[in-house]
Amino acid sequence: MEILKYAIYRFGTMLLTLLVVSVLVFAIINLPPGDYLSNQIAELQATGQSAGVAKAEFLRKEYALDKPLWQQYMIWMGFMPGPHGFSGMIQGNFGWSFEFDSPVADIVGDTLWLTVLVNLAAVAFVYAVALPLGVLAAARARTWVDYTSAFIGYLGLATPNFLLALILFYYGHRWFNLPIGGLMAPEFEGVPMNWEKVKSILVHLIVPTFVIGTAGASAMMQRLRANMLDELGKPYVETAIAKGMKSSRMLAKYPLRVAFNPFVADIGNLLPSMISGSVLVSVVLGLQTIGPTLLTALKTQDMFLSGFVLMFVALLTLIGTMISDVLLVLLDPRIRYEGRGT
């Protein structure tokens, strides 16, 4: 039951972190001078459209934008009753998007689970690629296998994600006839799930997964290689070899299990950069994730929309990190339950 206690403790710290993050996010979305509505009111007054001004003023009252900042924050989060009683983030009301003139929940809707899907696929890709390559590079250290994988890894780290995306898209389409842009064929949008749609999404996922995962995979591969090399020098490995154990079986049975822990723990470091990558790549490739939504929202100062997207992205990262921490405790009996780093 210790593990359950730890999981609950970890969940608690996650909620606290999320609270701090919400303050941070609120501060950031309020950084630009002025807000969407006051900009709009100024513009409407300049062109003399009083009807629009009245509507904008109404929205201002409706979303408590005329109150002091700290009250705005409390109302946004739902800690304090707004004009319509308690209706904030924690009550599940994500606010109003001024740019799209509809509730935030309607706009992000579908894109949320597509974002999760893209990132899950990328994590799976990272594990699938980094594990065998990292072990191979360590086992064949200082041979051409090692150097080639290191070279590819470095290239993956150094090439800007978005360019890799464009280039892969171009050649993927040209040589393998992969579809260009989007996460599904246009005819499946808004259609309920069926087998054809799943297939279409899978085919569309190939390039984005590859692009988002490459940098993470190469970082993880290098770390796994270093960990493996540390383990390979230890006496128990020598003993196993001296006893005549087959090297592939020896690798999998002893050093890999030790080197595997950081591999799981690393996902906490990896997730933030992968989600960053997915936002960027989504914008370039026109995927229906929240990346493009975030960009428009930020550019037009649509504060509730960008605030929600930022919160969602942070939540996704925090949940991923929490899961990896709990998994790590399950995997490694040496780790006690005080949490990492203590």
Partner: protein, 385 residues
């Protein structure tokens, strides 16, 4: 050699406890730290080459205007999307020095593209140290001399092609380097100052300060960087001058980078504080400021420099990504990210692949920083084999 009264022979030379060591090892032990680091670093070939390359790059930044044949925003309206030209030496089997074939353009009204045909009959010799558009060396000294240019005003030379507005991509890459390469340096300075300050605060005082700073570090590290970068740079007012935007963007890049550095500073502080030489210094009455400056900082400064080198590439890529998305530097400022903004769609990659050339310097510079950082990290501890 003296003979003692009891008949034993004794050497007259003063006793030297290290006499058993070989002469060469003695030299090593007495050598200053930087020499040992340098000796080890020299064996790291890749790191050495990368370091030299980066040094040359940074030294060339002030004279970018001299090497570039054209200004960064100089337009050639007759040569939109001109393809790259190669410099040849032999014309019809005869050596005539470096020359290019002049290009003439005409619009293809069926595909709506510019078609360029080289004039293979009249090779055009490049001129060297010629007069051209005025520029400033290091932003201060006005000059009009360029390293090379084409002899004819109307048929300019585009080593790496020209872009949508007929601007020379080669020149723009050189000018763009001035911003793209310094963004990382300014950002890392900000991150360095913040990281050392908060890291040493946490490591030295411990207790509550340590707890608070640690939580802040954890929170900042658990957040995805790019959305935060985007949000912060979206807050930069659009009427600011390019220079102000440039500085604020590099500061934003630095602000979100310090937690990693602070964490390693703190860890080093915690472990080094327990070392015997620190206790010895304290017992001899050294103030804590002196202990930090003279005994602690030099111990891990080199380590910090190596990790800083490794985080510069992230900033260069960050600037590129921000500018690429239109939230970083904006035209008329020229950076590699701004240039890549033109190559944002598949059509330009397919029809005008040379607009994506700025990715080459990005990849090369980022790789060089990575190799240099690896080399530095490996050679920083000269006693470790």
């Amino acid at each position: 050699m003296t003979q003692l009264p009891d008949g034993r022979y004794v050497d007259d030379a003063p006793f030297d406890p290290q006499a058993s060591l070989l002469e060469i090892e003695r030299k090593d032990l007495d050598a200053p730290n930087w020499l040992l680091v340098w000796r080890k670093f020299r064996t790291h070939k890749l790191g050495l080459i990368s370091g030299a390359f980066l040094l040359i790059c940074y030294l060339l930044l002030p004279v970018a205007g001299f090497i570039a044949p054209y200004g960064p925003n100089q337009r050639h309206s007759e040569h939109l999307y001109s393809p790259p030209q190669s410099i040849n030496l032999f014309h019809q089997g005869e050596f005539i020095g470096p020359y290019v074939y002049p290009l003439t353009s005409h619009a293809d009204l069926e595909t709506f593209q510019w078609v360029f045909t080289p004039d293979l009959e009249n090779p055009q010799n490049l001129e060297f140290f010629c007069e051209g558009r005025e520029y400033n060396i290091a932003g201060l000294i006005p000059s009009t001399t360029h390293l090379f240019c084409s002899p004819d005003e109307n048929s300019p030379v585009f080593l790496w092609g020209s872009d949508r507005l007929g601007r020379d991509i080669f020149s723009r890459i050189l000018y763009g380097a001035q911003l793209s390469l310094t963004v990382g340096l300014i950002g890392i300075t900000v991150s360095f100052v913040l990281g050392i300050f908060f890291g040493s605060l946490a490591g030295y005082f411990g207790g509550k300060t340590d707890w608070v700073i640690n939580r802040v570090i954890e929170i900042l590290r658990s957040l995805p960087e790019l959305p935060l970068w985007l949000a912060l740079s979206a807050a930069v007012p659009s009427n600011w001058s390019p220079v102000a935007v440039f500085f604020i963007i590099s500061i934003i890049l630095g602000i979100l980078d310090w937690p990693g550095l602070a964490r390693s500073v703190r860890a080093k502080f915690l472990s080094l504080r327990e070392e015997e030489y620190v206790r010895a210094a304290e017992m001899m009455g050294a103030s804590s400021g002196r202990v930090i400056r003279k005994h602690l900082l030099p111990n891990f400064m080199s380590h910090l420099i190596a990790s800083a080198t490794l985080s510069i590439p992230a900033m260069i890529l960050g600037e590129t990504a921000l500018s690429f998305l239109g939230l970083g530097l904006r035209a008329p400022a020229v950076s590699w990210g701004v240039m890549l903004n033109d190559a944002q769609n598949l059509a330009s990659i397919e029809i005008y692949p040379w607009t994506a050339i700025p990715m080459l310097p990005i990849v090369v510079v980022v790789l060089a920083f990575n190799f240099l950082g690896d080399g530095l990290r490996d050679s920083l501890d000269p006693y470790q084999q």
